[in-house]
C-alpha cells in the first residue's frame, strides 16, 4: 500500500488551483469576499440603490404646471397621501390584505393540518404536489381562470341557476360595499381572486410549523382533559402561529402590492398598487407614486420585525 509519499508535510501545490486554494485557506476573509463579490453589489447596490433612489423621490414634489419634478426636500407628497381620496386607497388595501390573510389562514389550516398529521407516504407526496402545482402555476392564468368563472355567462352563474339559487347571489350583490352589478366587478370578486391566488403560500409554512409539533403533545392535552377545541386553542394554534405568520408575510405583502387583480376583477375603486401604477405612468407623478410605495414598505417592515420576534422565519 506504499502508494503515497512519506513526507509528514507535503509540498506546496504548483498548479494554479492548488496555489489559489492555499492562498484562500490562509486568507479566509479574502475567500468570503470573493464569494460575496458578485451577489453583494447586485443586491446591495443595484437593487437597494434603486429602492433608496425611489424612496428619495418621495421627498420631492411635482410642479403642478410644468409636470416636472422639483428637487427640493419636502414632506408635501406625504401630506398628499393623507387627503381623503388617497387615504381611502390605503385603508381599502390594508383591510383587503388583512381579510385575504385571514381567509387564507382559515382555508389553508385544515389542508396543512391534514398533510402534517394524517397524510403519509404516497399520499403525503401527492398532497405536497397538490399544493405546489397551484402555488407555482402562472399567476396570470389563475386570474384569467377567475375571469372565466365570474363572467356573467360563466360557470358560477350557471351553477347558481342550475341549483335555483340565483336569488341568493342577487341578494349578496345587492348588499352595499361587497356587492355590485356582477361578481366580476365587485369587492367580493376581487377578494375571492386574491384569496385564490395567494392562499397556497399559506399552506406549506403552516404545515412546516405543525410538523414540528410532537404528536404526543396533542395526546398529552387530550389526556389532561382538553376537548378538541381547547387542544386547538391552547396547544395547536400557538404552535402553528409562527407558520401562520410566515405564510401571512406572503399573503399580506402580495395583496398589498398587487395592481393586476383589482384592475381585472373589481370595481373601479383603486388599490395601492393601482395608484402607484397610475401615478408613475399616466399621471407622471413619480414622487407621489414613490410615497405610495413607502406605505407597504413600512407596513411590511413592521410586519417582518414582528414576525422575526415570533420566530416565524424558522418556518419559512
Amino acid at each position: 500500500m506504499s502508494v503515497v509519499a512519506e513526507n509528514p508535510i507535503l509540498a506546496r501545490r504548483t498548479s494554479t488551483f492548488g496555489r489559489l486554494s492555499d492562498y484562500f485557506w490562509l486568507n479566509p476573509k479574502l475567500f468570503l469576499l470573493m464569494l460575496l463579490a458578485p451577489p453583494l453589489p447586485w443586491l446591495g447596490i443595484i437593487y437597494l440603490g434603486s429602492l433608496f433612489a425611489l424612496l428619495l423621490q418621495s421627498f420631492f414634489s411635482i410642479d403642478e404646471f410644468s409636470g416636472l419634478i422639483n428637487y427640493e426636500f419636502t414632506l408635501d407628497t406625504y401630506r398628499q397621501l393623507l387627503i381623503p381620496a388617497n387615504f381611502d386607497i390605503i385603508l381599502r388595501t390594508v383591510i383587503m390584505a388583512a381579510l385575504v390573510t385571514l381567509a387564507s389562514a382559515l382555508i389553508a389550516f385544515p389542508i396543512a393540518y391534514y398533510a402534517a398529521r394524517y397524510a403519509r407516504g404516497k399520499w403525503k407526496a401527492l398532497f405536497y404536489l397538490a399544493v405546489m402545482l397551484p402555488l407555482w402555476s402562472s399567476y396570470l392564468v389563475k386570474v384569467y381562470a377567475w375571469k372565466l368563472i365570474l363572467a356573467k355567462e360563466g360557470i358560477l352563474n350557471w351553477g347558481f341557476a342550475k341549483l335555483h339559487l340565483t336569488w341568493l347571489l342577487d341578494a349578496w350583490l345587492a348588499l352595499p360595499v361587497v356587492g355590485g352589478n356582477s361578481l366580476s366587478i365587485s369587492y367580493t370578486g376581487t377578494f375571492i381572486v386574491f384569496v385564490y391566488v395567494w392562499m397556497p403560500f399559506m399552506i406549506l409554512p403552516i404545515q412546516a410549523a405543525l410538523e414540528r409539533v410532537p404528536v404526543n403533545l396533542i395526546e398529552a392535552s387530550a389526556d389532561l382533559g382538553g376537548n378538541p377545541g381547547q387542544t386547538f386553542r391552547h396547544v395547536l394554534f400557538p404552535l402553528a402561529l409562527p407558520g401562520i405568520i410566515a405564510g401571512s408575510i406572503f399573503t399580506f405583502s402580495l395583496t398589498l402590492g398587487d395592481y393586476i387583480i383589482p384592475q381585472i376583477i373589481g370595481s373601479s375603486r383603486l388599490f395601492i398598487g393601482q395608484a402607484v401604477y397610475a401615478q408613475q405612468g399616466t399621471a407622471g407623478n413619480i414622487p407621489l407614486a414613490a410615497a405610495f410605495t413607502v406605505v407597504p414598505i413600512v407596513i411590511m417592515g413592521f410586519y417582518l420585525w414582528m414576525a422575526k420576534k415570533r420566530g416565524a422565519f424558522d418556518a419559512l
Binding site: V3, V4, E6, P8, I9, L10, A11, R13, D22, W25
Partner: protein, 332 residues
C-alpha cells in the same frame, strides 16, 4: 523521533482560551490519548494537529517540520471523525479511495489499495455499498480504512468509540490497539472516557480548561495524580484535604488515596490508620464499597466481597500502606 511537538501552543477564540500554552511531545509509534471533559481543549488540540485550526500562539511541528500555516490537505496526517463524516454520495470503496483519488493515484491502483484497506478493517466485499446501508460500527471501520489507506504519519481519532455500544466498544479497543501495533503508525486519540484512555494508551495527557494537567503513563496518571482535578477525573480516588493529610503524619498538602488501597482494621506496623463512622455501604459484586466519615471527610474504601461489611453507623478503623497515599503538587 518526535511525531508531534507542541511548544507553548495556544488557541484563543476571543476571550475564550480553548487551548492555553500547551506543551506536548508525542513520540513516533506511540498510542497517545488526550483525556478530559468536554470543553477542556483536547479536541481543539486534535484539530490543531489536523490543521483545521491555527494556533494563535506557539509552534507546532510534525516530524520536525513546521505545521502552522499548512492547510490540512498538505499534512500527511489523517483523521477519524467522531461522526465518521463518510461521504453519503460515494460508495464505501469510493469513500476509502477518496484520499488516493485527490492525490492523483491511478484508478486501478487506488481501488486495489482501498479493497486491501477494507479487508484490513474486516469489511472485505462491502465496497459497493453506501454509507447509509452500514451499521454504526461498520461505518467507523470504513472511516478508519479511509484514513489509513493514505498511510498517514499520524492518525488522529476524535472520540472514535463514543457512538458505539459497550460490547462493540470493548472489541474495537482491542482491534485498534492491535492495528496500531502492526502498522506502527502514531495514533493520537481524544476521549472523555478515562477507562478507554487507561486501557489503550501508551501515554495520556489529561486536559482541563485548555491546559495539560498531567502527562504520563496510565499507571502514573492513575496512581500518582499531580492535581486534584486529575485525581478526581481519572477514576474515583479519595481526595484528601491538607489538614487531614497532616493529621496522618504527612506534610500539609492535598493527597489522593485509592479506595482499593484501604483495608479494615489496624494494619501492619508501618501502616497509617484513621477512625471514622460508616455512613453507607453498597454491594458491587466483586467488591463492597464502604463510605466512612472521618474528621468531616467522606472517604470511600473498596473491600473484597469476602470481608464482613460493618453495618451503617458503626465506628471503624481503616488502614493503608504509607506509600499508597500520594501527595499532590498543590499545597492548599
Amino acid at each position: 523521533m518526535t511525531a508531534v511537538l507542541f511548544e507553548n501552543v495556544s488557541r484563543h477564540f476571543g476571550a475564550v482560551r480553548a487551548v492555553d500554552s500547551v506543551n506536548l511531545a508525542i513520540a513516533e509509534g506511540e498510542f497517545f490519548a488526550m483525556l478530559g471533559p468536554s470543553g477542556s481543549g483536547k479536541t481543539t488540540c486534535l484539530r490543531l494537529m489536523a490543521g483545521f485550526e491555527q494556533p494563535t500562539g506557539g509552534h507546532i511541528e510534525i516530524f520536525g517540520e513546521t505545521a502552522e500555516g499548512v492547510p490540512p490537505y498538505r499534512r500527511n496526517v489523517n483523521t477519524v471523525f467522531q461522526d465518521y463524516a463518510l461521504f453519503p454520495h460515494l460508495s464505501i470503496l469510493e469513500n476509502v479511495a477518496y484520499g488516493l483519488m485527490v492525490r492523483g493515484i491511478a484508478k486501478a491502483e487506488r481501488l486495489k489499495a482501498a479493497e486491501n484497506a477494507l479487508a484490513m478493517v474486516k469489511l472485505p466485499g462491502y465496497g459497493s455499498r453506501r454509507p447509509g446501508q452500514l451499521s454504526g460500527g461498520q461505518r467507523q471501520r470504513v472511516a478508519l480504512a479511509r484514513a489509513l489507506v493514505n498511510r498517514p504519519r499520524v492518525l488522529l481519532l476524535d472520540e472514535p468509540l463514543g457512538a458505539l455500544d459497550l460490547k462493540l466498544r470493548e472489541q474495537m479497543q482491542e482491534e485498534l490497539k492491535a492495528l496500531q501495533k502492526s502498522l506502527g503508525i502514531t495514533f493520537v486519540f481524544v476521549t472523555h472516557d478515562q477507562g478507554e484512555a487507561l486501557s489503550m494508551a501508551d501515554r495520556i495527557a489529561v486536559f482541563n480548561e485548555g491546559r495539560v494537567q498531567q502527562l504520563g503513563t496510565p499507571e502514573d496518571v492513575y496512581k500518582r495524580p499531580q492535581t486534584r482535578f486529575v485525581a478526581d477525573f481519572v477514576g474515583s480516588s479519595n481526595v484528601l484535604a491538607p489538614s487531614f493529610v497532616h493529621s496522618l503524619g504527612y506534610p500539609a498538602r492535598y493527597a489522593s488515596l485509592r479506595p482499593e488501597a484501604l483495608a479494615l482494621g489496624e494494619g501492619g506496623s508501618n501502616a497509617r490508620r484513621f477512625s471514622g463512622t460508616v455512613v453507607a455501604t453498597s454491594f458491587l459484586g466483586a467488591t463492597n464499597r464502604l463510605t466512612v466519615e472521618a474528621a468531616g471527610t467522606r472517604i470511600a474504601a473498596m473491600l473484597p466481597a469476602s470481608a464482613a461489611v460493618p453495618p451503617q453507623g458503626t465506628g471503624v478503623t481503616l488502614s493503608f500502606a504509607a506509600e499508597d497515599l500520594h501527595l499532590m503538587d498543590e499545597a492548599a
